[in-house]
Structures are given as C-alpha cells and as structure tokens.
Subunit: 471 residues, 2 copies
Amino acid sequence: MTRQTKVMPSLGEAIRQSGLRDGMTISFHHHLREGDRVLNSVLAECSVLGLKDLTVNASALMGCHRSILDFVRDGTVTGIECNFMHAQIGQAISRGALEREVVFRSHGGRPAAMDRGESRIDVAFIAASAADATGNCNGKQGNAAFGSIGYAMPDAEHAQYVVVVTDQLFEYPLIGASISEESVDAVVVIDSIGDPLRIMSGTTRVTRDPIGLLIAEQAAKAIGASGLLRDGFTFQTGAGGTSLAVAQYLGEIMREQGIVGRFASGGITGLLVNLLREGLFETLLDVQCFDREAVLSIGEDARHGEISATRYASPAAKSSVVDHLDVVILGATEIDTDFNVNVHTDSNGVIMGGSGGHSDTAAGAKLSIIVAPIMRARMPLIVDRVGTISTPGEDIDLLVTQYGLACNPRRSELASRLERAGLPVVPIHDLKAKAESITGVPTRSTHKGRPIARVISRDGMLLDTIAMIED
Amino acid sequence: MTRQTKVMPSLGEAIRQSGLRDGMTISFHHHLREGDRVLNSVLAECSVLGLKDLTVNASALMGCHRSILDFVRDGTVTGIECNFMHAQIGQAISRGALEREVVFRSHGGRPAAMDRGESRIDVAFIAASAADATGNCNGKQGNAAFGSIGYAMPDAEHAQYVVVVTDQLFEYPLIGASISEESVDAVVVIDSIGDPLRIMSGTTRVTRDPIGLLIAEQAAKAIGASGLLRDGFTFQTGAGGTSLAVAQYLGEIMREQGIVGRFASGGITGLLVNLLREGLFETLLDVQCFDREAVLSIGEDARHGEISATRYASPAAKSSVVDHLDVVILGATEIDTDFNVNVHTDSNGVIMGGSGGHSDTAAGAKLSIIVAPIMRARMPLIVDRVGTISTPGEDIDLLVTQYGLACNPRRSELASRLERAGLPVVPIHDLKAKAESITGVPTRSTHKGRPIARVISRDGMLLDTIAMIED
C-alpha cells in the first residue's frame, strides 16, 4: 500500500492543499541568503490566491526579500517575525509600513518559542536543493546546494503542515537526508529555489581594512591571554570581515603554539574549513554555510557536522552547542557603557539587522568579545545607552577596538590577564571619550514614534521595543 | 555560561534525579539484543530504590531480560509494553505472572502511540555504545558498538526525561551523533552496556535446512515472477534463516538479470551489506543491525543509512519507509485460511514472540510473502483460525511452503503471474490438508483463561487478546 503522492504540480496547489487560510503563519529559512527565491515565490502565490493577513516567520529576511513590502501593501502579509531584517526592509518597517509590531527573536530563541508553544507555524515552506518525492531533503546536494539546513529543522518538526520546495528531485530515498519524510506533507518542484552564488554576500571575506586587521589581531591576542586557548578550545566567529580576520590571526597563534581546538560552530566559512583541514580544529558544528567552500565541505567531510537551530542555540533544549563555547567573536552597531549591544538599529534608530545568534552565543560563551572600530562614518560606536538592546551587557565580556580593549567590570580577572599580557586595557568611558573627541557628541532625537518592533530575548521575555522613525 | 553537568555518578543517582516515581513508565531499546545489560541493571536499581508499580515499555524483551520476572515478583514492575517478547518471559506471562495485561505493539505502532499521545514515557534509558557528556550519542562507535539506534530515537524525542547509559564516554561533541544532546537530560557511565558479540543470536544466518532452502528458492522465483523485480526494486527480509536465504537467491536472480534494487530496509544483516557492496542495492535503510558486518558497515558507508523507528514504520508519520516497499519476506508461527498470521503465540497459545515490524511491513509492502514449512515439530502451520492475530490476512499476499505457493484470493492477478511462471500455486486449504495428512488434525484447548495480553494494531486499535494458559 503506497500512500497518495506528496508531489504537488505547483506552489499554488501546495498552498491550497495545505489548508492555509487568512490570518495564519507561514515560515521560511534563509540559508540561500541573498540568492533565495522561495520566500518571494510563495508570497506571490499567496497574493494571487487572495490570502490576507498572513504572518511571515522567517529565520532572516535578506535584501532579496524586499518584495515582502509589496505583499504588506496589498494586505497579504500583516505580521513579520524574524531573527534578522535587512536594512532594505527595515527602513520601510521603521517608517511604519506594518501596522503590527515585528517580533524579533534570536536563532536559538526562535526554535525555543516553537518548543514552548509560544510560536505556532501553520505552514512551513522549506527550500531544499535536493529532495525526493516524499520530502526527504537536504541542502548538501543538487545544483543549488547551500549546505546546512539547520534553521529549517525546527520548522519541519513543529509546523502543522510542511512543504518542501526544491528544484532538483532525487530518487527515493534521498541518501543523506537532513530532514526526513516523516515530517513532510508536500513536495513542490519549481524552476529555481535560488542562486547559490549569492549565498556569499559582501560580508564573508577577511577584511583588508587596516583598522579592522588591527582590531582582529588585538582580539586574537586577547583570546591567547584569556587562559581559554588550550587543547580542546571551542570557538565561534561571525562572517563579518573583522570577525573572520580574528579567526585567521587565532589560527596563527594556534599553529605556533601547537594548540588543537575541539570545535568551531555557528555559521561556517571556508576559513574555518581550512582550519579544520589543517587540524587546528577537530570538528565543525554548522548551522549555516556562509560560502561555497563550506557548502562543499559539509557535503563530503564527516568531521563537518550539520546541526539544527535547536541543537545550536535553543535555551529550551536540554543543552545546546552555545553552552559549550569558550569564545565567541561578535560585532556591534552600538555598545553602551553598560556593555549592552545593539545589532538591530542604526544610529538613527532605523532597523538594519537583528540578533541572529548574537545573544545566544554571548549568553553561552565563557568569553564573548565585541570587535568594532570606535566610530563608523563619523558616528561613535560607544554610547550612553544603545538605541536597542539586542544582547544584554551582562553577557558581553570584552570590547576590542583600535584604541584599546575595554573589559566588562564584571570580569576584573579577565582585565588582569589581558594587562599582564601587555594588552592596552582601558575603561570603556575612555574609548567613548576618544571617539567623541573626533566625532563630537552626536545628538539623538528623543522623540519616539509608536512601537513598530519588539525584541524578544532568547528566553521569551521582552528585551526592548523599537520605535517608529518620523522623518 | 556552561550549565550543570549531565553526567551522573551512578545509575541510581540518575534515577533519583529523573524524578521517577511509583506507577511511572520507563523505556528501553533492544539493539543489543541478547547481549543487553542495561534493562536488567536499571530494573535492579529501581528495585533497590524501592520503586513500585513501574511499567516497562521496551521495543523488545529478549531472553537475556528474563530477570524482569524477578522484578515483577517483587512488585517493582507491574506493567509491560513491548513489540516482541522472548519465550523465556512469555511462558511466565502466559501463566499469569503479571496481573495487568501486556500491551503488544509493532515497531511502527510504538512510536505512533507516542506521537498520538497514547503512550507516555516518563524516563527513557537509552543504551549507547558512544556518548559525550551532554548525551550526544550513537551505537556506531565504541567497544560495544551495535549500529543503528533507530528504535530509541522516538524515546529520545518523546520521553519526559532521557538518560543515556554508556560504557564509553567521548569528548564533546561526539562526531556523528544519532541522538542529540538537545533531548538528553542525564548521562551515566557504567562498566558495560552489554556484549555486542551476542547481538547476533541464532537466527541471523542463512538456513542450511534443505526444506528452508527450497522454500526460499520458490519465494525468490515468486518475486521474480511478480512483476515487481525491476530496476528500483525495494525489499525487506527478516533475520530468520529462511528469510535470509530468500535474499541470497534473490541476489542471484538480480545478478543474472542485471537488476539494481533501490533499497533494502529494516533489520540489516551482512548478507544485505554484501548486496549493497556488490551494487545490487543502492542503499540500505537500517533501523537495527543484526550482525557485526552490518554494524561495521553502518559506521563507515554513507550508503548504509540509519533510520528512526518513526521513519521506518510509523503510521503517524507523514510517510515512512515501509510505504515504499515492493516486497517483504516474513515468517509465521501460524497462518490461517484467511491468511491472518500469528507471530505472538505458539500452537499452545503461549507467548513466544511479537509483531516487531511484521504488521508494519505487511501493511506497507506491495507484496508480502510468508515463508514457512507446512509443519514444525509435527504441528501444522496452517489452521482454521490463528491463536493470535498478529497481522491481518488482508495484508498478506502469498504463502510459500515446500509443498507449493498459496495466494491470498484477493490477489488473483498475482496467482496468474505465478502460474504463468510455472510455479506450483495451490489453494491454502490444500496445503492445510497436506500437513494434516501427516500430523493429524491437532486438538486445541477451547478453554481460555483471563486475558493476559492485548495486541494493538499499528493504528492503535485492539487487534486481538491473548488468554492465560492454565496447565
């Protein structure tokens, strides 16, 4: 007895079969990053079908998803939940494009909200570069391979109805599936799920900026002095150019000192793949591949493991990878003198990002380091109070800038270690004064419009709200 | 921030920490088969701790688990749920050792009952040959490697509290974990989880019995004549000597005709591993390794995939592997003239087995074949009405014996195909008469004691009850 086929003739038919109705929530993952075509295609179909009042829950909204604003305008979409929002969408949202407040979570908080029953997904649309007719699928095979499909795994587990969207159908059973048929209701084959060459957008190369390189070198030295850099070391770094440069300098120190790290985690780049191959790390725990080298590696190297967003960072999991981190390297658009970090809004209060795994890794790691120049485009990094709290200051241990390293006062033993190693440790207030001596003290509008977004902590609490910008 | 360690100093401490109380349900898997030491060790600890009235939900109870009867006698265990029960335990149960009725499910029905909320597991004890301190674990590595850990995956997902029991702790993170830390509450290291040499008990060798070989050859010819044996063929066979011989003969036909099968599934043996290596099957979907060759293969060959019991056979899954089977080869202790099959009780009505995946694969496969001699120890195979219905006759297509092949009357087109191929198709009544001409018509006790077990169909319905034997 073989059941009815799951393969639908079109996206529209899959949507009809899913029972999607006005007011429901649909979900997406962002592993194809700026190359993704699935979110836009699904929204266009929903609009054609006359669906209204949908909430889009996406692990991230990239610039390529800006057509979501058209579907906001025509009433198809009236709710947005995400862990990151590109400035191209954020600018419109910050100007009041959406009536309901956007819900920002983190990469760990999103699956945790599903686990706790706080976040319901009615229909998940899962882009997969390889799938069979029953929905066994992954991102490792196929022409549009994008690597780890980790952010979509909680959606497959929790959504009421799961649609796998692929452009390459394999024979049953797909060997090496990351998501199993047991969770999948429907499979749709479309012409193209996206352009894998656009996975790697501007951010995933080591910086060549001398200030960035100086900061990265100081950060690597700080790790070396922290007492954490020993055999078994565990590490995560973002895909920003300075963060990647830290990994490069750190590799040099590890090579010199003969240190072998246990794992590097999170979003994985070719740079980390090279450290794995060289034997400087024993394994990679990959929730998202940031470039082609990472995509190729996860498909062929057993030491390069795929992890779900839940296993990566969910505080509702019985434990997660971030709990085992020694050091994480993170960015910031603003940091305040209490070490609160903003990665959601720019200096004008306009949405241009989101937590991603920022707050998750900062909470988990023994040493969380912010690397950033003290000013950008004549706006100072350090402020009295960040415009938006993305990660609470209690989870940030160290700020590394081109003018010195500022330790969170809660970490006095760290400051001592860094000073003993000859690193220029300075009070964060001094760094703030230094920047302001160059840029002047910026004036900030105190006028605040209605709230247009809520930042939810990984534990499900309200961390901050973001106000509308009135030009 | 690293959370509190999950590693418990002893089984007893893990049980205390789990909050296990009188009347609760604990679960086990049986991948170590006759070599398992975990179930007995846990029950002994529960007894020492004075716990009473526990229900044991095990994927199977083997002969080595017969000490469960001691814990039934002392009141530690008052409930048993399983998919298979060895005769050494079944004999006592059939004589009324347990007041409450045993609940028999199938390998697919067990996870389905968890998914539907009909079966609650309070504490799962998962034997793992390799684990790290957070509970990432598998059965593929370590000295007591047993291969697939598929039957334990639903327990990890659904149990309120999950204890991983291992005898070999690996550094975090275990590379290639089958069950993830996100589901695991506690880890206990004991001296030995069991003897992997005893995974392969008597049944997992090709028969040398000439009658068994004859039956197997006929069954393979029937498959060849069925119209299903073509490129892409999918196949499952049990670990019984005759079932294995079918695979061997089938391999010969496939080799001769240049046919490449897509997958073989279920419990995997070295014989199937050899067919994979030879290229006669493209992939294996393994819920349980039956011998050392299979254990070695699943650890090193990407084409040899591990599947959960849910993905294998759960009718609550959105689809499962058994739905894609062309042919399954199954055994029977009795079959009746309506093709109902009994694998639970012997001719005296005494419990000596259980469904395992019998009813799941029979329901899923396009062609389900029973291979059995028409009599054993002077007891006829074919009866008017089986003592226990394990698999409904509507799911059985063909019976192959040494005196001919009997087709289910619902499959007249199959009978025609077999006849055209020159195979000796006979009415099942003729086979029954043939056996009875040798053995005589056995007299069966019509006296039935109180019900001591219920057989639950994979869909959660009552399929049959088993009565107490009164000597």
